[in-house]
């Protein structure tokens, strides 16, 4: 699957939130790092459209799943860091298990073969 032929806008609704939360499990991070980590760990399959990253971060903060503070970035710039809250951790577990169920269900429907073809490139 090519990097550019999959429009990221069609990323399943709610999965971006989940991935942001997952990224923050490793530690507090600012927006750029979060985007980068998601891209890297998806082996550059998923490119976070920046236009949706920041509204998502703000939304998560409003819901109390992440909190934010201003700190210094690796390059010593002033940056807004996001941290996973206890509420966010609980939400992450919930969403992860829901996601697993969903992925398994889809895999069952598509048959293992399809999963093998699509899953690895």
């Amino acid at each position: 699957m090519g990097k550019k032929d999959q429009p990221n806008g069609e990323m399943l609704k709610g999965t971006l939130d989940m991935m942001i939360l997952r990224t923050l499990v490793a530690g507090d991070a600012h927006g750029h790092t979060i985007a980068k980590v998601i891209e890297r760990s998806s082996e550059d399959v998923l490119e976070v459209e920046q236009g949706s990253l920041y509204p998502a971060l703000h939304r998560l903060e409003d819901r109390g799943w992440v909190s934010s503070y201003w700190g210094a970035s690796e390059n010593n710039r002033k940056a807004k860091f996001y941290r996973l809250t206890a509420l966010g951790k609980r939400q992450l577990t919930l969403q992860t298990s829901r996601w697993r169920q969903m992925a398994r269900a889809i895999a069952l429907v598509m048959g293992d073969k399809a999963l093998d073809e699509g899953g690895r490139e």
Partner: protein, 873 residues
Amino acid sequence: MSWRRWFRRKQEDADLVREIDLHIAEETEENIARGMPPEEARRRAFVKFGNPERVREDLWQQNTSIFIDSLWRDLKYAARTLARAPGFSVVSVLVMTLGIGANVALFTIVHSVLLKPLPFQEPAQLIRVYERGAEDDVENRGIAGGVFSAWQTQSRSFSNFALLGAGLGYSLSEAGGQLPEKVTFGVCSWNLFPTLGVEPALGRGFTAGDDQPSASATAILTWGLWKRRFGGDPSVLNRTIHLDGKPYTIIGVMPSWFAYPDLNVQLWTPIYHEVPGEEMQALDSHDWVAIGRLRSGVTEAQAASELSLVVRRLHDQHLDNPFISKSAYERPLLKDMVGDVETPLYVLFGATSCLLLIACLNIASLWIARGATRRRELAIRAALGGGRWRLLREHLAESLVLSAASGAIALFTAYAAVQWFVSSRQDMTRVEAIHMDGAVVAFALGLVMLCAVFAGFTSSLPIKSKPILDSLRDSSRSHSEGHERIQLRKWLLALEVGLTVVLLVGAGLLLKSYRQLRSSDLGCATDNVLTMQFSLPENNYANSAQRMNFFASLLARVRSLPGVDAAGFVRTVPGQGYGGDAGFAIAENPPLPAGQMQSAIVRWADPGYFQAMGIPLLRGTIFDDSQRLEKANRVVISESFARQYFGGGDPIGKHLLTLGSKSFEISGVVGDTRFVVSKPAQPMMYVSIYSGEFGSTGLVVRSARDVNTLALPIQRLVQQTDPELAVMDILTMNQIIGRDTLDASFDAILLLVFSVLSLLLAAVGLFGVLSYSAARRTTEIGIRIALGAQREQVLRLILSEGLRPAVVGLVLGLLASVGVTRVVQSMLYKTQPLDPIVFLSVTVTLLLVAAVACVWPAWRASRLDPMETLRSD
């Protein structure tokens, strides 16, 4: 959307910009690290990120509610528009503040006094019980001790049933050396506080053991007395105080909010310990108050009928005693406490509501006028595509801004007004419960919304109905202005005038009633008469001779004081209340049939009292100064006594069997005096205070000069005669009458103030509408004059135009008054609700004021120079 972000949207946006900048910078650096030239690295970073402005906009919208945003914009716009017309805005705010403030203040009082439940546990279950002479008797009686005992043993309706008496006086002193003082105290059965569900804040309540004749004396202080006299010292418990010279142990202090039955009661003692046993078992002296807590499932009516049954049985067992009641009657405790103030408060509240309505009508009328001047602006905006809803919304926003501002000011004004009310009406029941709370603020908010919507909508009626083209066309001045606008204002005016008339009539009736009350003749001298009360402690004055001697010697000393013209004793001064009565029989008449009774008010007085108070001796003689102690066997009766019980016959020399079946010879007949100002005189009999039967009395002193200067010398005399004696209630007769008529004067004056304010508003409204309409008709009038109309004709034309709504309003108001005045009937004294003089003077006043308001615009119109008006267009 989140409120926090909404309120700091600007800050949030700035943060976001920084966040994005950082993101781009980091990305650029990474690109450079990958070997791109800086320019390219930066461009690629932007390409990857997309449009930062989009992100900003998205987030801005995410943080915004469109509704609130546009509301906010409307309000800002409205505030700016209003600031451009400061005169209009200030007048509007003032008028609305007046209306809202008066209403909020009255609501605070009504809400606290009438609507809030009593601060006791489950107050709805508490009822007060009365005795009644017969089933259909309207006069409620207090409870006799014996009846209460019978109820307690035979009734099953109450989970708790308590007895109390209040308003008695004690001389309080303690070892500490403070001056003795007179305190008003209450006596109660031990279970009064448990019945109410109140516990002492300090110490303990009474127990059944305290409430017995044999128990050691105990007392519970109220919070106020504890703070004032004992400095709030908690070690006051178990301390001994002296009440009328007898020792009492303080066992408790009531909580600060406890003010039952009123703020006057400062101390409680157990009733069965305090009052002699035989008095507590009497069936025929209706002295006490009974309060019960209904068992769940028992209705008031059931309780009353059960109690009635018990009373009836007692009555039938003692047919020889006509003073035993026949039935019982009940009322919820709250109703019982506020019954007297309910109607006046609701009437005042009604008056402030009228005031508010008038204020709103006035504002609406003002706005219509303003709307007219902005007609062109509105028409142009409508023509440019401004939706009607949009224009209406702006209009409402303006009225909301104005009423919100008024509401805010009104809250403060109302707070001040309530403080004033509380301080000037300490005598009212539950005055201590008056506080502004959440409900009041909610009420104020409601009023603000109501005013905004009312004034806004009424005044925007013409906006909607007008086709745009028409407005544009007739905004040229040569046309007479849109008729419906002025028509609407005239209707509003008529309504205003109508409401004003109702208020004026109400105020007029109350004022007349108050005047009647003040002019009613007490039957005795009222100018330059000083009165005071004292009571001799039982310990030091145990027998009649001691009391008699004290009275005689004190009176002699008072009379010899320079400035004192005359002085005398009477156990209850005229105007200070009912005092007490006694049944009697006329010895010379055949005995009354069993079960019938006659009674009259009794007064203990000294022979000099009548002369001192200017009460005329009509026949016979006053009892003799030498007839003292056992020899005090003469009685003087009042005129109405003689008329009622002797008809045309001569009472002198007849005998009354009374006060424990003693025989008193009637020696004279004196003029009637009233026991309260508002009640007609009742049959009264006087016996000599020198019988020494009682130790408490009132002293009256008359002087030719300012009698207040005598208060101190007399107090000093009392102190010299007995240093432990406290004097209380030092009042002139006029003060007594003032106290007695305080309610009436208070209500009348408040209502008068409200009605004068609304009259003023109506007059201003009338003036405004007429000036405006005359100004719009300038051209027409100019033409009329040019064509030969006489100035007087023009004057008449404009005058009649202005007076028409006033007259319509007057008729409406008079008709409404006929219905409404029935409400105040119970507040009136010797005044008919349809008093023709009041109605007539209101009509005249209103027409005069209306004429004055109309004359200036009409006169100005008749002075117009036709040349100028025609040229100016």
